[in-house]
């Protein structure tokens, strides 16, 4: 992340200046390579300006508050998705795990009459366990993550439906389960505890990835698993921990979702799975693993939200939002391929 201030040593043979000069021939590419969150930030700023010009209510404090509350759930799912994609994996079951988790949390509290604290804890454990199942399939049984989570997508969706007999669970009792929906007033902004939790988790995961050995190992395993093994990193353990942490993040997402709507339903957007991947990819995290930062994912999730809100405020048909997201994803991957060409 430090700018490459290259000092030329006097003793360096002239040929040595050749390759680095060629490498730096495109400083723009090198800059995007060194700072993977720059391109999503640029897209976010442009999108925000354009939609603000179309409708100046876009960034009113009221609208901004609602957008932040809406982005919390998808932002959390994308955060869990990020650490999995960093290991060159993918999680297609992310939405299903979250829904299963929230059905257990609400179901235990409503149908089983359990106090909310154990209900919340058990629901969380279910989500962590679900993540763990994905992790075990990917590490112990060598099932490619795409296939493993495609399978568990069906399993966890069915489990969530079966658990609540396909019904919406409402009303959710107790202040703890709904605590994430509590509004905090900041001047003319209304943010919720859920938003604060989301930001906190981004900071924590960002710290773990950037400043701890675990984070370096996550990048190394995603970058080159064989190299990671040879330097003595236990790849399976790192991978499994990633899927467990992702499950924990999905549990928080479930909690935030319950707080926002006050109920638990299996028919909330079925596009959650793909939306989370969209946010991660637009956020500049490479699907090939090993590169990307959570700040990029945060921008990616915000971009998705800005498009959703902006297009609905502009009074344009919803299909254009799908179109825009689709194009953005493709553009993001093309950009990633180009940036990755910095490697020699």
């Amino acid at each position: 992340m430090t700018e490459g201030a290259v000092t030329t040593t006097a003793g360096t043979p002239p040929e040595e200046a050749g390759p680095p000069a060629r490498r730096r021939a495109n400083p723009f590419q090198a800059m995007l390579h060194a700072h993977p969150s720059l391109s999503p930030l640029a897209v976010l700023v442009v999108a925000a300006v354009v939609f603000d010009l179309i409708n100046n209510r876009m960034f009113s404090p009221g609208n901004l508050s609602i957008m932040l509350q809406q982005v919390a759930v998808i932002g959390l799912l994308a955060l869990g998705q990020t650490i999995i994609i960093l290991t060159a994996g993918i999680d297609l079951s992310v939405g299903a795990i979250m829904i299963f988790g929230q059905m257990v949390m609400a179901g235990l509290a409503i149908n089983s009459g359990m106090p909310v604290v154990p209900a919340l804890i058990l629901g969380t454990l279910v989500a962590v366990l679900a993540g763990g199942i994905n992790g075990v399939l990917a590490t112990r049984f060598n099932v490619p993550p795409f296939i493993a989570t495609l399978g568990t997508l069906g399993v966890f969706t069915a489990a969530g439906l079966k658990y609540a007999n396909g019904q919406t669970l409402t009303p959710v009792p107790g202040s703890l389960l709904l605590w994430t929906g509590t509004v905090i007033r900041l001047g003319s902004f209304n943010i919720t505890v859920g938003v604060v939790l989301t930001i906190a988790l981004y900071i924590i995961i960002g710290y773990c990835l950037g400043r701890t050995a675990w984070g370096k190992h996550v990048y190394a395993v995603g970058d080159d698993p064989e190299a990671a093994r040879l330097v003595g990193i236990r790849s399976s353990r790192t991978l499994l921990s990633v899927y467990l942490v992702a499950g924990l993040i999905y549990a928080v997402a479930a909690w935030v979702q319950i707080g926002r709507t006050g109920d638990a339903s299996t028919d909330i957007s079925s596009t959650l799975n793909l939306d989370s991947i969209t946010a991660v990819v637009i956020g500049g995290v490479s699907l090939f693993g090993g590169r990307g930062v959570v700040l990029g994912t945060l921008f990616g999730a915000l971009i998705v939200q800005v498009f959703q809100t902006g297009i609905s405020l502009a009074g344009v048909q919803e299909l254009y939002q799908e179109l825009a997201e689709g194009l953005l994803v493709i553009a993001a991957v093309i950009l990633d391929q180009w940036i990755r060409r910095v490697r020699r």
Binding site: P19, A30, T212, K216, A220, D224, L230, G232, R343
Partner: protein, 265 residues
């Protein structure tokens, strides 16, 4: 054409080997890669290991570096028997390996690669509770090591490895091994992927390591480089040690003849 017969003992220094192996066996399914290989590495020497494809060089090295466990036979380090179950245990014992694939993470920077798998945490609660890495210290130590080895092509220690040339990447891998290999360093085909000029740089790096007194096992196909660098040459053939020669007593042609079985040692 017959090569001069030389038993391993004749060329061996009088001291105790740093690393020794006797009667190593290793099979993969029906393929016997090692069929009773012996091996000795003495203090301060560069021992080249050569052999045709399928002679068991790689398997021998994998056993010595902990990447593989032999089916039978003993390995001793400083005279004490060792049983490495993985690479990590060999590393802890002071054996570092520079792999042909280099085993570097391209997206991570030089300093991070140096300490990958043995990161240094900050002192105090920041390190013990929050597990925070001491990035400053790791960068400083990596830079010191690079400077000590005189690798002036690695200037920015925070540069991602993937932005480096092949020779520079090799230098990172070698410098890393040199920083942590307290007993010996194994180098597997260190110049195989490099151009002429970069190979020369790696060769001088190897000489500098030898000057520091650290014994080196060098696996290579590059005969001129082997004969220029090595003190002794272990020739592996058909899963066994066919001979140990020295560049002084044998020519390259004789070495190749022993390697291919055209001559016996």
């Amino acid at each position: 054409m017959t090569a001069e017969t030389t038993s391993p003992r004749q060329n061996a220094p009088a001291t105790r080997p740093v690393l020794a192996a006797t009667g190593l066996f290793k099979s993969y399914g029906r393929v016997d890669a090692l069929r009773g290989t012996d091996f000795e590495l003495y203090p301060g020497e560069i021992l080249a290991v050569i052999g045709d494809n399928g002679a068991g060089k790689s398997t021998l090295i994998r056993c010595l570096s902990g990447a593989e466990t032999p089916d039978a036979g003993t390995i001793t380090l400083d005279g004490r028997p060792v049983h490495f179950r993985d690479v990590q245990q060999a590393k802890q014992a002071g054996i570092e390996t520079v792999y042909q694939t280099l085993a570097v993470s391209p997206a991570l920077d030089i300093a991070t690669n140096f300490y990958l798998g043995r990161e240094v945490r900050k002192k105090g609660p920041l390190g013990s509770v929050f597990r925070m890495l001491d990035t400053t210290a790791m960068r400083r130590m990596a830079r010191e090591q690079v400077t000590k080895l005189g690798i002036e092509t690695l200037q920015d220690i925070t540069q991602a490895v993937e932005t480096l040339s092949g020779g520079q990447r090799q230098a990172v891998a070698v410098a890393r091994a040199a920083a942590f290999g307290s007993k010996l360093i194994i180098m597997d085909e260190p110049t195989a992927a490099l151009g002429v000029r970069e190979s020369g740089q790696v060769d001088s790096l190897i000489r500098r390591l030898k000057d520091e007194g650290i014994p080196i096992i060098l696996i290579s196909h590059d005969m001129p480089s082997v004969f220029a660098l090595a003190d002794r040459i272990h020739i592996q053939r058909l899963g066994r040690r066919a001979a140990v020669i020295t560049p002084q007593t044998h020519t390259m042609e004789q070495a190749v003849a022993i390697m291919t079985g055209a001559a016996t040692a």
